[in-house]
Amino acid sequence: MSNLRYDDHEEALRDSVRALLAAYSPWQRVLSRVDGDRSYDMALWARLAGHLGVTGLAVPEEHGGAGAGFREVAVVLEELGRAVAPVPYLGAAVATRALLGCGRGDLLGPLAVGERVPVLVVPFATSPGVPAHPVAVADGPVLSGVVAGVADALPAGLLLVPADDGLYVVDADAPGVTMRPVLSLDATRTLCDITFAVAPARRIATGPVAGSAVTDAVTAGAALLASEQVGVAQWCLDTTVDYVRVRYQFGRPVGSFQAVKHRLADLWVQVTEARAVARYAADCLATGDPDTPLAGSLAQAYCGTVAVTAAEVCVQLHGGIGFTWEHPAHLYLKRAKSAAIAFGSADRHRTLLAGLVDLPAPAPN
């Protein structure tokens, strides 16, 4: 049976990540970066790799990683979500799954020490089972085409590019590769459009292996993103609770008004449920459970909406101050709304679930 709890070592991992983020990535620092278009904080990334070694958690030990697994990766993502930290951790985890899926864990060695971040070059909105190969291959091999709205690619060193005949790797600084940052809804995770113009590439997998490595990686993205969303939602809940306890109106803490209390109680229920769902997804992913596609779709059908609700309630119950640029709530709102589309919307995942659990759509008229 799936273990939905946090083990003691996972709690310890959480504590150390939280402490590091509190020291080096307070929200004021995150906010100060988002007016630019290259918001990634690679100094923070280096600390996550150097101080805590968490960038290689899912990298096998023989390749220099911690040999832990995706349950631990999910715990780190919770904390990163809680801090809206601008680091390419999610993208690296997805790429890790892709490389492990085609037996090329050897390419992950540098990641374990925080270098040469790998990223799967698909639009951030890609959902499992929707192949989109806008990149064409020619002899060399060389790649040509444009992939729009890729997350975590700006600071990446190694691009994993799915194409019709397999999965390719391209150096991010190879000739013919251009990354154009996108003005993103979530400025803490700036997307970019990547143009390949006869860019030299290496093929690392072909046929069904490549196909399922990519699909499984996107499923992993859906499953892991849920933990980040839980972190976002938990921050929004905690911060709102703290605020309404000290904000007085009509001579009382706002948090003593029953409608406010009940709204936050309902939100707590949702966050509690989202946590169980996210743990299930992480555990399935970590143990190779055949229920992983279902768990990933369930996660994105549920947790994304919870994070958005949490951020919306956070803004609302902060009143005017929550609507300002100078308050961090909007960073979470934008992260949450953006993440609700990433790796497929709730609606898309409900459709996938319909197939997985035999609840078919009506026949067309």
């Binding site: 009382r252 209390k261 009940h262 449920e273 769902v277 059908a301 609840l359 078919p360």
Partner: protein, 386 residues
């Protein structure tokens, strides 16, 4: 003793017990013997049905007995006795009381009910007005209780009374065990909007209870009742369900079996409900894992809230999905079911019965307030009552 050692000890005890007692023999004798062997509630003290073993090992013992087809104590017939009265008596009863009541309670020979709610004291349970007045070594009880399931079959009741009308409201309450056969106890069925009557009204008129039926100190009944109520919530949250267990399974099956009823809009509703039901199920599972690890957490309130909301929503969708068939009901006559037949009857019955889920056992409003104050630490409202 480590868990593993304790488990081995318990398995040994069950095996030895089964050597001496035939599971196919007399049901009551078998259950009494099981109680006496300490295999009823393993976490209870020796002599009170237990062996002072860790509570989380009880499922193991139950499984061992089930494996050989031994009779159980029909727990659903006496859910209030087992779920609420027993833990309360264990914690607050005198040795004499525990010795008298726990064994026939566990074996199912004596059914229990709960006389807490009153017409004027529902959510505000501590506002109860049923009086108990001392008369020598007895107490005379007068008042009206409501929403009492099993009262018409119960031998005993746990009863809250007001013994001090001038004390602050939580401090004037005393807890009794009420003899349901005593003169002056009148039980009337309370018909629900489904047509049937699971519950009762209980009228208490000059009911004479000896002081030996008092549990806890005079005026300390609210504290005793908190033990009862805590177990009520845990009991509701604790059942593990398989995927598509409960109402969502009925809806999903109707969807699968009846393609002609499907529409795109209802597909959306069915899928959303499926997702929410599965999220609630995983939450209950996580709660259970935490309980078994000795780390209960406050998730049980979440589980009850979601359970009620989901049951209401899912059954509502099912009625809509059935369309013209959803306008037809199966039975409006007055019955006295042991428990609601949620999955056996029509969707209309499920829809109507589910309205009670957010009222019984603590309204959803009260649960939200409990979560807000006890889990989130939000401030209480200004109190105008005592």
């Amino acid at each position: 003793m480590s868990d593993d050692a304790a488990a081995e000890m318990l398995r040994g005890r069950v095996a030895a017990f089964l050597d001496r007692h035939d599971p196919a023999g007399d049901r009551t004798a078998f259950l009494r013997a099981r109680f006496d062997a300490g295999l009823a509630w393993v976490h209870h003290p020796v002599g009170l049905g237990g062996l002072d073993a860790p509570r989380r090992l009880q499922p193991l013992v139950d499984a061992e007995f089930a494996r050989v087809g031994a009779p159980d104590n029909r727990p659903r017939r006496n859910s209030i006795g087992l779920g609420m009265a027993a833990p309360t008596l264990l914690r607050h009863g005198t040795p004499t009381q525990r010795a008298r009541w726990l064994r026939p309670l566990w074996t199912g020979e004596e059914i229990w009910c709960q006389l807490f709610s009153e017409p004027g004291a529902g959510s505000d349970l501590a506002g109860l007005t049923t009086r108990a007045v001392r008369d020598g070594t007895d107490w005379i009880v007068d008042g009206q209780k409501v929403w009492t399931s099993m009262a018409h079959r119960a031998r005993w009741a746990i009863l809250l009374t007001r013994t001090d009308p001038v004390a602050p409201k939580h401090r004037g309450i005393t807890f009794f065990v009420c003899d349901m056969t005593a003169p002056g106890v009148q039980v009337r069925p309370l018909r629900q909007l489904t047509g049937e009557a699971e519950f009762n009204e209980v009228f208490l008129t000059d009911v004479r209870l000896p002081d030996s039926l008092r549990v806890g100190a005079v005026g300390d009944g609210w504290r005793v009742a908190r033990t009862t109520l805590m177990h009520e919530r845990v009991a509701i949250g604790g059942r593990p369900l398989p995927r598509e267990g409960g109402m969502i399974g009925r809806l999903a099956q109707t969807w699968r079996d009846r393609p002609e009823l499907r529409s795109a809009g209802l597909h959306h509703e069915v899928l959303q409900s499926w997702v929410r039901a599965e999220a609630a199920r995983l939450t209950a599972l996580r709660l259970r894992q935490q309980l078994l690890a000795g780390d209960p957490g406050p998730e049980s309130s979440a589980v009850k809230l979601s359970f009620a909301a989901l049951a209401q929503r899912i059954s509502g969708i099912e009625v809509e999905l059935l369309g013209g068939e959803g306008l037809r009901h199966d039975d409006w006559t007055m019955h006295r079911p042991e428990e609601p037949d949620l999955l056996g009857r029509t969707a209309t019955y499920r829809y109507l019965r589910a309205r009670g889920n957010s009222i019984e056992g603590g309204t959803s409003e009260i649960l939200r307030t409990i979560i807000a104050e006890r889990v989130l630490g939000l401030p209480a409202e200004p109190r105008v009552d005592r």
